[in-house]
Amino acid sequence: MKLEVNGASRSVEAHPDTPLLYALRNELGLTGSRFGCGSGQCGACFVLVDGKPIASCDLPLWSVEGRKITTIEGLGGRHPVQKALVAEQAAQCGYCMSGIVMAAVALLSANKNPSDSEVRQALDKNLCRCGSHNRVVRAVLRAARNE
């Protein structure tokens, strides 16, 4: 199958029913998106599909053919959200962070000046077992100010 990932056309040899996350990690070596719950409920595997944050762990490949997929690698490491997360020392173990970054990037693309409650609502689907949520919210607000 052909996928458009981070602006490039990529071929993967996988059944169309394979979840996108498995193709990203195992076929394309894009291991920044994490496996968390495996059932679309924790946000660790979020990628952007046509600009919207979507869980990739249970998203069949056939449903994303021809759509623009952006992973954490596609942000280049210097996105304002990433810099703000570092500045706020938001991450603890960091496992959930790539999914949080993708949700925050989608939020700031649609809303340049979100309120605290809008940030919390946008990140509602991202679980962090370390309890870093408040630092993450501060970081996203910082990114909005600096963007």
Binding site: D17, T18, P19, L21, Y22, R25, N26, F35, C37, G38, S39, G40, Q41, C45, C57, D58, L59, P60, L61, S63
Partner: protein, 122 residues
Amino acid sequence: MTSEGILALEDKRFAAMMARDFKALDALVHDDLVYTHSHGGGDTKASWLDAMRSGKTHYRRIVAGERTARLYGDTALVSGKVDFEVESAGQMRALKLVYLDVWAKTPQGWKFVAWQSTPRPA
């Protein structure tokens, strides 16, 4: 009953789920079914079949992987891998699972009585 016979019943159940053959499912499923989904939610026989009947859950494709069936008297345990493509509340989901399920011998034949699955990591 043999291990192969239990796996054949399992395949029959998977086929009935995909075909939404509720007559076959009713015959294969024990009234005491405990169905624990990979997300932790649970169903009884009635609620599991109702979810399929109503269209809330539609198992579009089921591909069984490596499996082992073990018999202990009137009980059989199946452990293995399975891939589901399921439409759940209008959203297509592709699930790669490992599972353990239980079949029990009853006067009406062998019945599917328990299911427990968990996602396989990417």
